[in-house]
Amino acid sequence: MQNMLTFISNVLRGGASKNGAQTVSEGARLVGSTRSFADFSPQASFDIKKCELHRLDQGPPTQALLTREQGLKYYRTMQTMRRMELKADQLYKQKIIRGFCHLYDGQEACAVGIEAGINPSDHLITAYRAHGYTYTRGVSVKEILAELTGRRGGVAKGKGGSMHMYAKHFYGGNGIVGAQVPLGAGLALACQYKGNNEVCVTLYGDGAANQGQIFESFNMAALWKLPCIFICENNKYGMGTSVERASASTDYFKRGDFIPGLKVDGMDVLTVREATKFAADYCRSGKGPILMELETYRYHGHSMSDPGVSYRTREEIQEVRSKSDPISMLKDRMISNNMASLEEIKEIDVEIRKEIEEAAQFATSDPEPPLEELCNHIFYNEPPMEVRGTNPWSKLKSIS
């Protein structure tokens, strides 16, 4: 009631500090908050950027349908990923997380869009900037943070760390640049072999795109028509080297040569989703591999030991943050199309903050893995064996 009066008085005052259009939308928002959810639009159709094509006659659709439910889900997932990465940043600075920590904030739309375009039964493999994908592939924030802090509650029981997290149909988390691409082609081979209509999404970065093994994988995937979606997440910098200084050709979507490719705006979750659906359909129809380049950006440096400003300007980072942030873009779209209210979004933010805090609590209080498990899991499905410790009298036990 009070809000309504303030609103009316503002309008009567002729909008002291706001312009007309804003007042109207604010009014709609105010009115919206007192409405029931049934008054939101259940869905809306959005124009999305056309993809540049390579060896393809037709690309993904230029219009995407987003339901309210989907929008809220994507928002929630992206915001959770964002807050999780920022929490990891905080924990690293407190030296609770150690070693390598490569953060994904800024690139959320890629992970969420891809997951929305494939099925949970499909396969996915990526490199070391993997926390986001670990989450979208079904691991809880609690288990991810506990793995980062090296505790027994971590998804890899504390033995893997940031770069080595695994889940069902998610094959990591790989530390050697480019090595995951032949692995992905192999996963696709298995899908083809089994004939289960599944595809494999194989991700790599702009830095990895110059690895020879990637071209070897392209050749074999195309030769054998493997159902593999190769995705290059181009965030413009391979560690400290910009794409122009590393690659003779920066058209990463064309680098598959004989493999058809498309260039996708990686900051828009809907564009990524439509492109992934298109690519998955292509692969499932038996036409062979396809290549997607996602143009995206990372706010943090390459890893936590890289400030990220020696090879790019702060202004550049700020500009992307203010103009192309994937989470803000989705939020603005939903609110301006009356698919959600600001209050609702704020509520979701509060819930997510709480969830992340609880997960961080767990991750810092969970005990470290017990020493008895030091040598376990060297092999799979093996009888227990003895492992040499640091000296000949130290005989440790290993079970599978």
């Binding site: 150690r98 070693g99 390598f100 793995e147 090296g150 505790r151 971590g154 890899a156 504390g158 033995k159 893997g160 760390g161 940031s162 770069m163 080595h164 790989n174 530390g175 050697i176 640049v177 480019g178 830095g207 990895a208 110059n210 690895q211 020879g212 093994q213 391979g238 560690m239 400290g240 080297t241 200084r245 590393a246 690659s247 020696s310 090879y311 470290e368 893995p369 020493l371 498990e373 030091l374 040598c375 060297i378 492992v387 040499r388 410790g389 640091t390 000296n391 000949p392 009298w393 130290s394 440790l396 290993s398």
Partner: protein, 426 residues
């Protein structure tokens, strides 16, 4: 523009750091005041408390506050001021031998060799504009430019091969692997193209190349980034493999490697990069080299021989210090070179001590320690052993991430001490 570090200037003209000298002056005065007659106004001033209200904020530091810290730093107590000669001796600050970190030692070595020989150049990931992933090549690109310091894309097999090709044509490349774990991507070029070529061509084609980078375990970098490659590279004829421990090793061995006409693998250690060591004036000279293939006895002893390389040498010295308190004198040998192995130095030591323990960070099977055992057994020193050779190694597992697990996966000082006592039957 030539950068000369302050420590270097001070070391050369043998001058102390100003702060240290000022501290010595403070303590000298303090001693003087204390030795004066009782009731000397200076003594009363030391403990005086000013009357009246204090201002807001942190109380001002007084002479006594500063002197207390000084005394702690130097390790003297107030009571000791009575003895003037002893006091003066204890507070005296000596000019320090130049302290150089391993990182700076490697940097200087490369800088000097780049300057000395035009054919030398450095290539690798992030070595130029980023100043090196671990800042080892800091300042080199600014000084030498694009032609001599080359940033490569992430293509190890490719750029290692390119480096070998350049060496075959007469240049002297330094090929940096960001860590030796990534050298596995390129190992064919190191072994088949670099190591074997001189032999295959019957001496016609030389490959004067240096492969360098951090090797072995770091801190919290998990399984794929923590492997030690000393055994793998040490296995191959045609390669020389060195593993420096301290700054002097780093400088001397890297310079020798660059000047050597053969492929040399330099296994550095990331955890040692930031550690500072004293380097003698001789060690700072532009032509200081350490011969490849010669080990160094870092600490003489006659009860047991500890042989090690890289970071573990420090662990051995620490263990030796602890054992010395119990009357056990360990002889610590720093291998410096993995291939060719300096067996003579080890044998001479075993003849003296009759007990041998090898210490390494890598895995036990087919490792450096295993090779030393075999060589000792094959040679004259076998008859002087009073007990089997003991290998202290990393645990035979991929490196775990969690801190408690990682700490227990590589040799700790207590493991060395335990092994020494076991072999001496104590």
């Amino acid at each position: 523009m030539d950068k000369i570090r302050n420590e270097q200037i001070r070391g050369t003209v043998k001058v102390e750091q100003f702060g240290d000298k000022a501290r010595e002056a403070r303590l000298r005065w303090f001693g003087r005041v204390l030795r004066r007659n009782r009731g000397y106004i200076g003594q009363r001033m030391l403990e005086m408390e000013l009357p009246g209200r204090r201002r807001r904020g942190r109380p001002q530091r007084r002479f006594m506050d500063v002197v207390k810290v000084d005394m702690e730093m130097v390790g003297v107590k107030v009571e000791e001021a009575v003895d003037r000669a002893r006091w003066r001796q204890m507070i005296h600050c000596d000019f320090q031998l130049l302290q150089v970190t391993v990182r700076d030692a490697l940097n200087q070595a490369m800088d000097e060799e780049l300057e000395r020989d035009e054919r030398v150049f450095l290539l690798g990931e992030e070595v130029a504009q980023y100043d090196g992933a671990y800042k080892v090549s800091r300042g080199l690109w600014k000084k030498y430019g694009d032609k001599r310091i080359i940033d490569t894309p992430i293509s190890e097999m490719g750029f290692a091969g390119i480096a070998v090709g350049a060496a075959m044509a007469g240049l002297r490349p330094i090929c940096e692997f960001m860590t030796f774990n990534f050298s596995m991507q390129a190992i064919d070029q190191v072994i088949n193209s670099a190591a074997k070529t001189c032999y295959m061509s019957a001496g016609l084609q030389a490959v004067p190349i240096v492969f360098r980078g951090p090797n072995g375990a770091s801190a919290g970098v998990a399984a794929q980034h923590s492997q030690c490659f000393a055994a793998w590279y040490g296995h191959c004829p045609g390669l020389k493999v060195v593993s420096p421990w301290n700054s002097e090793d780093a400088r001397g061995l890297l310079k020798s490697a660059i000047r050597d006409d053969n492929p040399v693998v330099v296994l550095e250690n990331e955890l040692m990069y930031g550690v500072a060591f004293e380097v003698s004036e001789q060690g700072l000279s532009k032509d200081f080299t350490i011969p490849i293939g010669k080990a160094k006895v870092e600490r003489p002893g006659n009860h047991v021989t500890l042989v090690s390389h890289s970071r573990m040498v420090g662990h051995c010295l620490d263990a030796a210090a602890v054992l010395a308190k119990e009357g056990i004198e360990c002889e610590v040998i720093n291998l410096r070179t993995i291939r060719p192995l300096d067996v003579e130095t080890i044998e001479a030591s075993v003849v003296k001590t009759n007990h041998l323990i090898t210490v390494e960070g890598g895995w036990p099977q087919f490792g450096v320690g295993a090779e030393i055992c075999a060589r000792i057994m094959e040679g004259p020193a076998f008859n002087y052993l009073d007990a089997p050779v003991i290998r202290v190694t990393g645990v035979d597992i991929p490196m775990p991430y969690a801190k408690i697990l990682e700490d227990n996966s590589t040799p700790q000082i207590k493991d060395i001490i335990f092994s020494v006592k076991k072999t001496l039957n104590m």
